[in-house]
């Protein structure tokens, strides 16, 4: 009995199991399941979907290349930050994946027709504007794509664009928004103002030693100085070595003799021709006939250049009387050159056939190339020899420098033995100094543990392709607060400005109160050689007004009941402004020109769409399970 029950249950269980297995394999495919098991752990996943590293690498490289292109034709690759393209690539692929997932879960799809249409419209697949199946297949094979994978890719692109359009292209602007923007942008304010300059007081204020001490004590952070070093160094310089290379007259002459020996004399021939183009046999026969006729006239004494102008079908040379310029024996077709070789000057050939047709050729000039004289070659030879000598010297001295500086505690020995003077720099920080101290490898070496802390000679550092140096730290100054004596001058200037600023404000405020009290402000101002500046109906973009004052004027409350608004403004530079706002007029649509209205509409609706899409992506990322992002961001581009 028990056995029977067990058998029964086994039967039920096994058929459920088998059924399930069949269903699973049928729905998802064997390869999805087995494939997943056999792969190593996925690197970057978004809600469980993997983004292959190879894809990230590919996009990051493309972005880096785009950046290089943007840097112009002489890219400074040291400025290139490839981690930038990597971050952009990772983020872009995550966003794409999120959008793909959203498309799937919201039931978006692309019809077969839409994909067909897109393929037919792809210009790369078109011959003379018409879709060409053979061309399309070739293009796909070239890109390593199968038709199915390409169609899938197109489907994804179409879906992505549908989503983008749904969010970004549906932002709008209501008439209300446009009116409010016009009111703000074209708001007009009328005002008058005067400025009490702090410069009035900078000379008259007094700064005591106690003031300076107090300021210094309370503002130590301002006087922090980073760690600095100064170095001495010896420099091996190819250009300087060239000066040291002595070249004797014998060497120069020997070098010239080598040149003479290597020189092959050449004969240059200048040719003119008359051409009858021909390729078929009939054409050739006809051309020959015509050429023979012209040849007869030439033999009878007619002028070649005239007849060339008249008969030659080679338009360029015909204009010049058939002249083709010089050849060293290989500029023209072979039969042409062969004929030329056998001719004497001013002789005209019988008709010659080449791939272009039938020519009548005239040799107009014969010239033997000559080798330059020793005197003309001397300078260049001297330079060559010196350079060769300097190169050899540089290599051998470099080896010596390496050994000597490694074995010596300082630069004295290398300097004397190699006759390289010791040079020094001033103190510089990790951001570098001037001259040699501006070179990155020099800075790195100077602040390295070996050199800065242990006081050893550096290795030989190649600064550029002509210069190598070895350096030694002279002085190492740890990070410190600069002493008061050094910064006293700076502090005094600062304090003087502060006090002058306070005085300007004091005077300005007293004037402000005078205006409020209805005193005779103009007399007061006049006594200080100051006066009001009045501006009527200015907008925010008013070029005549200091932007700081503009900002102030446009933040002031609106005057009410005919009363003006008064306020003071301590400006960045230390001056003090007093502003009286008289009235505010809101802008209206009438102030907005047509082009401006269009750009406002464009700006507002694009911004609306962009903000909405950004919010959508941000929200999706916040809700997604993204694994391995940091690892991918940190990963190096395998090519760089």
């Amino acid at each position: 009995m028990l056995q029977k029950i067990r058998d029964k249950t086994q039967g039920v269980i096994s058929h459920i199991l088998v059924g399930l297995l069949i269903a699973v394999f049928a729905l998802w495919g064997v390869d999805r399941i087995v494939g997943n098991l056999s792969q190593s752990a996925p690197e970057l996943t978004v809600n469980g979907d993997e983004i292959p590293s190879a894809e990230i690498d590919r996009l990051a490289q493309k972005k880096t290349q785009d950046m290089i292109k943007q840097l112009g034709n002489k890219p400074d690759l040291s400025k290139l930050d490839e981690s930038f393209s990597r971050v952009a690539a990772v983020n872009e692929l995550i966003q794409r994946k999120l959008l793909e997932q959203a498309a799937e879960s919201s039931g978006m799809a692309v019809s077969v027709n839409a994909v067909d249409r897109r393929i037919r419209q792809t210009s790369d697949f078109q011959l003379d504007g018409v879709y060409n199946a053979k061309l399309a297949t070739q293009m796909l094979q070239g890109a390593g794509l199968t038709p199915n994978s390409y169609r899938a890719q197109l489907s994804r692109d179409i879906l992505l664009n549908q989503q983008l359009a749904g969010y970004t292209a549906t932002g709008f602007v209501t008439p209300d928004q446009l009116a409010k923007l016009a009111a703000l942008v074209h708001q007009k304010r009328s005002l008058r103002y005067f400025v009490v300059p702090s410069a009035k007081f900078t000379d008259s204020v007094t700064v005591s030693d106690q003031d300076i001490q107090d300021y210094y004590q309370h503002n130590q952070k301002l006087f922090q100085q980073e760690e600095q070093v100064s170095i001495e160094y010896v420099e091996l310089n190819k250009a300087k070595l060239m000066d040291a290379v002595a070249v004797s007259d014998e060497q120069l002459k020997a070098a010239y003799q080598d040149e003479v020996a290597a020189f092959k004399a050449q004969t240059e021939r200048r040719a003119s021709h008359i051409l009858w183009p021909a390729s078929t046999e009939a054409e050739i026969a006809a051309a020959r006939k015509e050429a023979a006729a012209v040849k007869a006239r030439l033999d009878a004494g007619e002028d070649f250049s005239k007849l060339a102008k008249q008969y030659s079908k080679d338009a360029d040379s015909a204009q010049k009387g058939g002249d083709l310029g010089f050849t060293t024996g290989s500029n023209f077709p072979e039969p042409f050159e062969a004929a030329l070789q056998k001719m004497t000057v001013n002789q005209v050939s019988e008709p010659v056939q080449s791939e272009f047709g039938i020519h009548l050729i005239k040799l107009t000039e014969l010239k033997d190339t000559k080798i330059d004289s020793f005197e003309t070659r001397k300078e260049a030879l001297l330079h060559d020899l010196k350079q060769k000598g300097a190169d050899a010297l540089f290599t051998s001295k470099l080896e010596e420098l390496k050994t000597l500086s490694f074995e010596s505690p300082d630069l004295t020995e290398p300097s004397t033995r190699l006759m390289l003077p010791k040079q020094t720099t001033g103190l510089f920080g990790r951001s570098g100094g001037t001259g040699i101290a501006a070179a990155k490898p020099v800075i790195t070496a100077a602040f390295s543990q070996e050199v800065m802390e242990k006081g050893l000679n550096s290795e030989v550092i190649s600064v550029d392709d002509k210069t190598s140096v070895v350096l030694h730290v002279l002085e190492h100054q740890p990070a410190q607060v600069r002493p008061l004596d050094v910064v006293r001058g700076e502090v005094e200037v600062t304090l003087r400005q502060q006090k002058a600023k306070a005085q300007a404000k004091e005077l300005g405020d007293s004037f402000l109160n005078a205006v409020k009290n209805g005193d005779n402000i103009d007399a007061l101002l006049g006594a200080q050689h100051l006066g009001w500046t009045a501006l009527e109906n200015i907008e925010r973009s008013e070029p005549k007004l200091n932007p700081e004052i503009t900002d102030k004027v446009f933040t002031m409350d609106r005057p009410q009941d005919g009363k003006t608004i008064l306020d003071g403004l301590a400006m960045q530079a230390g001056d003090y402004a007093v502003v009286e706002l008289k009235n505010v007029t809101e802008g209206s649509q009438a102030d907005v020109k047509e082009a401006e209205a269009a750009s406002m509409r464009n700006f507002l609706s694009q911004q609306a769409g962009a903000n909405d899409f950004a919010g959508y992506m941000k929200s999706m990322e916040a809700h997604a399970k993204i694994k391995g992002r940091d690892k991918q961001l940190a990963a190096k581009d395998p090519l760089l």
Partner: protein, 231 residues
């Protein structure tokens, strides 16, 4: 099984097992296959339905992409309306009809047809479910909500706008929600609350363009330079 069972016995046992269970197993397999086949068939019909909706939407999407920052012409609007009514009649449960409604709202709002724009946006808000197995992203409805608030404001209904904006958690849309709320509060004459709303919007702006918000704040007495130094 016991160790002494012979091969014959094993075969016999297998035969018996098959006699007992074979029919039910086969039935199981057939049923599963039939279900699967049916599911695939259903999926195909679904996707071809969606494909048609997708094609229709594409026409409206193209039109909205071509008219970013522009007002559509009457002819374009008429064409869009034709396509849109097909979508609404035959595919009203797809995500595409909602995207299309957003586009229609844009066409109308740009033209100043505020009531029509409001109708489309309200329809989106009232039809968030798109079927059993599918789910529209909730962000879509937050966006529709804020856009409807903009339209309400333009209709001269700032209270209605504020009610809409308070009707949902703004999530990652704090900047747009708060800016619109600020506009509504200002329209109601509450400058202090408007200023606070704009400041909230600016604080959440991230990489967005702050120019307009700064302008609005400046008009409420917040100096542009003070905003800059704070950031």
């Amino acid at each position: 099984m016991a160790l002494d069972t012979t091969e014959e016995e094993q075969v016999e046992a297998l035969k018996n097992w098959w006699k007992d269970n074979g029919t039910s197993l086969l039935t199981g397999v057939v049923v599963v296959l039939a279900l699967m086949f049916g599911f695939r068939k259903w999926q195909d019909s679904q996707s071809s339905t969606v494909g048609e909706a997708s094609d229709l939407y594409q026409q409206i999407a193209d039109m909205s992409v071509n008219n970013v920052g522009k007002v559509v012409t009457d002819d374009e609007l008429l064409a869009a309306q034709n396509v849109y009514s097909q979508l609404k009649e035959q595919y009203s449960s797809t995500i595409y009809t909602r995207y299309a409604a957003l586009a229609m709202a844009k066409f109308h709002a740009d033209k100043g047809e505020l009531d029509l724009a409001a109708t489309e946006l309200q329809w989106v808000l009232d039809h968030q479910s798109i079927g059993l197995l599918k789910k529209a992203d909730p962000e879509l409805f937050l966006i529709a909500r804020q856009r409807l608030a903009l339209v309400r404001l333009a209709q001269g209904n700032p209270k209605g706008a504020i009610d809409l904006l308070h009707g949902a958690d703004a999530g990652t849309f704090v900047t747009t929600f708060s800016e619109t709320e600020g506009d509504a509060l200002l329209q109601l004459g509450d400058r202090d609350s408007a200023r606070a709303a704009y400041q909230k919007a600016l604080a959440a702006i991230g990489e967005g363009n702050p120019v307009l918000l700064k302008l609005k704040l400046q008009d409420l007495g917040v100096s542009v330079s003070s905003v800059e130094t704070k950031q």
